[in-house]
Symmetry: C2
Subunit: 530 residues, 2 copies
């Protein structure tokens, strides 16, 4: 007996810890495989419901208001050139005329077919990854005795929340009151138990409450919890809330909330441009102009970091305190260089300048910091002053219209949306000139597409639509080093000539230009601009 | 008379075109200044409504379910170490123990005060810029005769939409039926006119419908339009929909929809790794290992582009077809180098490798492309095989809990969420090892924070929470060049010694480490990890 007990004890001493270890690590693999190939089950459920809504009054006639109907773009969008309203000499000098470009026109035959197939496939995957059931249309039925939350219910992945606002308000005196909740990506439970309410399905995807007393049922409904059990980093579940004869649908977002990205201004007590701003630029061949820029910066901001992306063939060293010089493969390009420079910025704001700009006493970066600190703007442009005295701000408005399977319509116009309250020299627009200060985390989020090698400007702002709140102030200016001399044939240095030869793409080069990208990358079918 | 007429005509010929030009350009400046200093008027409206809801049943008692209540984290979150449940020898070898770190502990006195002030201020601005009225809680009243859309109504900035689903379903027989709609960032109108309905406020922020016939009123309500007049690139308006004795609230999102970012695989008919993938890496000093990596890649993928970020002090050239070599300031660092390399990628996917990895016949990039093409994953990691045969995948789960004004709680555990249906060798996690393929547009959106100079790994995945859907497959592996020789003192080359001296931060260096960033950048107050 004692031998048996010792053996049994020995076995236990080995088996028990192992059993504990196994149980401890059990959780990691216990959930069965989950399909993430993007089927729109929940979105289909919501679409079905919309399709089956009754429209009882469809026989009642109406008179159409043409001007309003036109703004609705019910059959998709089109891009049309302006027909000239006034036919006078020099009309084009006096009025900007809108021109339209169909973006698929650059493709022919089999290549066009392939481009269309590719675009459709990519757009479908994009929609699956980007839109959730929380974006779908839900319409609340009238006279529903159910009270429930219609928006704002959110749970972090794998976590639990209390569902607010659930209640049943039947007017009729019924013997029994019944409600049920169903979900697909999580389970329900209750944080408390109220006597007089029968619950079935605690901890399951379908929970059921019954009570003779409406007051008791509603007290119980104040404490219903939802736990996300089917992991996803950013999606939404649809909850069906039912009682006898009535139903309501609402979504619960399942996601990590947007992640903050703050920049510590550092231990210094001063709140100054050097701790908050990094100056970024790209250079190619024009070391003399670059040095003029650096010297002009140092007159006003001796310790601000300057990040330089350089794709010159035989690069020269650019040295000095607070200067970071990055060397790229020869001729890699304009937007690659911009993206590189911005990728290295460690301060809250980044100031973009071209390498042929010159700081003056009007280049007050403090003003730009001020408006970015005090408003919801993400980017603020200034003015670039030519040697003639003319100051350009390149303010543009960019709008889009929902189109068809071929894509959306893109509209670019000079102008701005509105003046900014409290900042009378500043306006809100959608695109500005190449002299701007921006929140680093936002500009890094949008990125300068490295596929644009030679020319590109608006592409950045188009990629930024919906992400960037853009402004432009005309009381902060920078000088543009004289181009006049460089434009005259006898005024060009050897460097100028080499620069010009490279800067503007030859026809033979297989460059990606902005229009290619609007079609292939951003899913636009046409563009109008003035 | 004739002289007068000529003069008048001359004046007209000058004035009229000018007047036309002025009228033509009038629109650009006619809207008055708009305040964008981020006041939460609409969110306050919704919060007020929630606060004033009646809770009639508050006297009814209940029994608490402790286990459920605990998951709710009602009073914020805490980070606690595991108390050891089983006190046996070698417990730590058998069980991972969870340790907790309070992140503000690194700051003292005045520095802590400044850090707190800064964090609070930044968090308030962040919330103003990031959350809209569409994120606020709205609860639908029961027994409301109004039918209306509770989610899914969206309009592009400055555009017009039809509001779906508006209807009045009163049961009682009233003499007159009345509804009104009010908004603050746009105006209402109607696309059609139904006889027998009186409308006032067309084109204004408050519109009013009256009719003796409910059917006529509801027919009219099928055609109500909303036009965004107060520009904002990404916000939401709150619509108040009222009838006698009842009200409903719903939000209309005003935004550019998420912008697609597609990558054209190019004119080739083949759909292969070289057109879809770019390999990115960072190197420092270890040119021999880097060359071994490149040679191993070329055995299997002779034409795939390799982007190399290099911050060696006296860099050597790294040449070859499809190789791009970028030179950085000496010792700029690890995450800056990662961010630089990724900023130059022009293909749909980017594969990250360390410079001391070696490709083998098991390094099948096609498998990684396949799962990214066919699922909603944004990033998929593989396994890194050490010379001992042990293969690491570094799978981690990262969860967060909502905290208080000090910040949220961050929890890091080894493990994964679930297996992927259809891909039995693959799982979903939140962080993986440094050998992964990712969608370029997503990885560029998250960015590798250039403030992490020496060490960092999980920081990238934490920045990616909510943005990246992360997976890990154990059937794609890469070899790690032998470290054993390099770890023994007599096995180190001069280069190895210089590398080690630089790689690991000395105590004197004022480096930003990951924990600094979790506190200052991501607004966490504490972290637990196993």
């Amino acid at each position: 007996m004692r031998v048996m007990n010792k053996k049994a004890l020995a076995v236990l001493l080995v088996v028990l810890p192992l059993a504990v270890i196994l149980t401890y690590h059990w959780n990691s693999g216990s959930i069965s495989a989950i399909d993430i190939r993007g089927r729109d089950t929940l979105k289909n459920l919501l679409d079905e419901r919309i399709r089956h809504m009754k429209y009882e009054n469809d026989n009642i006639p109406y008179r159409i208001k043409e001007n309003i109907l036109r703004t609705l773009a019910i059959n998709g969008c089109v891009c049309e050139s302006d027909k000239s309203l006034i036919n006078i000499p020099f009309a084009q000098l006096l009025f900007s005329q809108v021109s339209a470009t169909q973006l698929n026109a650059m493709f022919q035959g089999a290549e066009l077919q392939r481009a269309k197939q590719y675009r459709n496939k990519e757009y479908q995957s994009f929609r699956e990854r980007t839109f959730t059931a929380a974006d779908s249309l839900i319409i609340a039925d009238a006279n529903n005795p159910l009270q429930y939350p219609t928006q704002g219910v959110e749970v972090r992945p794998t976590r639990t929340i209390l569902i607010p606002g659930l209640s049943l308000n039947v007017k009729s005196k019924e013997r029994q009151h019944l409600v049920e909740l169903t979900a697909t990506m999580g389970t329900f439970d209750t944080a408390v138990l109220v006597d007089g309410v029968q619950i079935s399905g605690e901890g399951e995807m379908h929970i059921h409450f019954v009570s003779d007393s409406l007051a008791l049922l509603n007290r119980q409904l104040q404490f219903v919890t939802y736990t996300n059990t089917q992991f996803h980093p950013n999606t939404a579940d649809v909850v069906q809330f039912k009682t006898t004869g009535f139903q309501a649908l609402f979504t619960i977002k399942i996601r990590h909330p947007p992640m903050p990205t703050f920049y510590n201004p550092g231990p210094k007590k001063d709140y100054n441009v050097s701790t908050l701003v990094t100056i970024a630029t790209k250079t190619f061949l024009r070391y003399d102009k670059l040095q003029d820029l650096i010297d002009s910066i140092r007159k006003f901001y001796p310790t601000v970091t300057i990040v330089i992306a350089d794709d010159t063939k035989d690069p020269k060293p650019v040295k000095g305190p607070y200067i970071e010089h990055y060397l790229m493969p020869f001729g890699k390009g304009w937007f690659p260089g911009r993206n590189l420079a911005v990728s290295q910025v460690m301060t809250k704001y980044v100031l973009w300048v071209d390498d042929d700009f010159i700081f003056t006493s009007n280049t007050k970066l403090e003003k730009m910091v001020d408006i970015l600190e005090r408003t919801t703007l993400d980017l603020v442009g200034g003015g670039v002053r030519e040697v003639t005295g003319y100051t350009a701000n390149y303010r543009h408005i960019i709008t889009t219209d929902a189109g068809d399977e071929e894509g959306d319509c893109l509209h670019i116009r000079t102008g701005y949306h509105h003046v900014i309250e409290g900042f009378p020299n500043c306006v809100v627009a959608d695109a500005v000139i190449n002299f701007f200060m921006a929140r680093t985390e936002k500009i890094q989020k949008v990125t300068f597409d490295p596929r644009l090698a030679r020319v590109g400007h608006l592409a950045f702002f188009i990629d930024g639509l919906g992400t960037l709140h853009v402004g432009s102030c005309d009381d902060v200016t920078i000088n543009h080093a004289s181009k006049i001399k460089g434009m005259l044939p006898w005024g060009q240095s050897e460097t100028d000539k080499a620069y010009s030869a490279f800067r503007y793409p030859s026809e033979k080069e297989e460059n990606v230009n902005e229009y290619d990208l609007y079609y292939l990358k951003n899913h636009f079918k046409c563009i109008t601009s003035d």
